[in-house]
């Protein structure tokens, strides 16, 4: 027996099976991301008042790079436009144009992931250093003339590791000055470098999940979102090339598949549209 409405819309609802399926799936995704957003907001509002890192558990502000985040937002908005234009091209029976738009969509997805990994690298090599006199410094460090890199987990430094390696001094490229709202002060310089004696350091840690709840929840949500982007890109890439054979055998079902893929892609992009202001701006 053939399963009904696999690609023909059911007359009373106007929906085919896959569209009902994807919306049920997206409903479960809304609950997943909704829970994580709630966790972020609850941690944010219950954090002590003050300016991080001076107050250890105050909520850090202005740590994420807004121009890069905005550029990534533009990349995702572009990818949503191209995925819907790919679907529209198929509706207008133009397969060549569909493939061009789909390739642009997948390229945008990988551009997003590339930029995000650049941001991750920056955070994993960015340190907060607490000194004996109670001061806290933040910036990128240089140990024995080398900058730590995130893809090398053995390259993470602590006071104990510095002592083990008999390092006596490290260089810190200090972050530019910010006001209490995290905004860059006018004319703030990024390249002010200081040398710090290891004996003066009480503790140090890179901007990793273990350092502060902000980083824990930031990495969790953005990495989960990144996995969704990667999954979506792989599926859309499959539709653009090996899966495109269906266009000849069953064009109606193929168009439906692209629509379902496009709905997932829009959801992933919509999550970012909420994530960007919450994490980067507020």
């Amino acid at each position: 027996m053939e399963i009904p409405y696999t690609y023909k819309a059911r007359p009373d609802t106007g929906l085919y099976n896959a569209k009902v399926g994807i919306w049920l799936f997206l409903a479960s995704e809304i609950m997943l991301f909704g829970a994580l957003f709630s966790a972020y907001i609850l941690l944010r509002v219950s954090a002590p008042v003050g300016f991080w890192p001076d107050v250890a558990l105050a909520w850090p502000r202005g740590l994420l790079n807004i121009p890069i985040g905005t550029f990534n937002t533009a990349v995702l908005i572009t990818s949503s436009v191209t995925v819907v234009l790919a679907w529209a091209a198929l509706k207008m029976n133009n397969f060549a144009r569909f493939r061009v738009y789909m390739v642009i969509t997948v390229l945008c997805a990988f551009a997003f992931l590339g930029i995000k990994s650049f941001e991750y690298n920056d955070k994993f090599s960015h340190y907060v250093i607490r000194l004996q006199d109670g001061k806290a410094l933040t910036g990128h460090i240089e140990v024995d003339g080398k900058h730590p890199r995130f893809w090398n987990f053995s390259d993470q430094w602590s006071v104990a590791k510095l002592a083990d390696k008999k390092v006596t001094k490290i260089k810190v490229e200090m972050d530019p000055e910010r006001d209490v709202n995290g905004h860059l002060k006018k004319g703030a310089s990024h390249h002010h470098e200081v040398e710090v004696a290891v004996s003066d350091i009480v503790s140090m840690g890179s901007y990793t999940p273990a350092t502060h709840p902000f980083f824990a929840v930031y990495f969790l949500i953005t990495a989960l979102h990144g996995l969704h982007v990667l999954g979506g890109a792989l599926v859309l890439g499959y539709f653009a090339f090996p899966g495109a054979k269906m266009w000849k055998s069953n064009p109606e079902q193929f168009i439906n598949r692209i629509e379902v893929g496009g709905l997932f892609w829009h959801f992933v992009d919509l999550v970012w549209i909420f994530l960007f202001p919450v994490v980067y701006l507020l």
Partner: protein, 68 residues
């Protein structure tokens, strides 16, 4: 809801985000008097206009496709 309808929702959300970014950057400019924030605010405001124009183009281009 079809991809067409979801795309309209997405464009509307993007317009709201860019308007918010424009306002946020303008407030930051008023606090810091740093021209970077003013430029940022103007860029975000112009992207609001761009997205609204695109939304109208999209609706016109796909007027024969159902919202369901």
């Amino acid at each position: 809801m079809s991809l067409k309808a979801f795309h309209i929702v997405f464009v509307a959300a993007s317009v709201i985000l860019m308007a918010f970014l424009s306002g946020w950057s303008f407030l930051a400019y008023q606090e810091t008097h740093s021209t970077e924030y003013l430029v940022w605010s103007l860029c975000a405001a112009s992207s609001v206009v761009g997205l609204v124009i695109y939304g109208r183009f999209f609706l016109r281009k796909l007027r024969n496709i159902s919202f369901l």
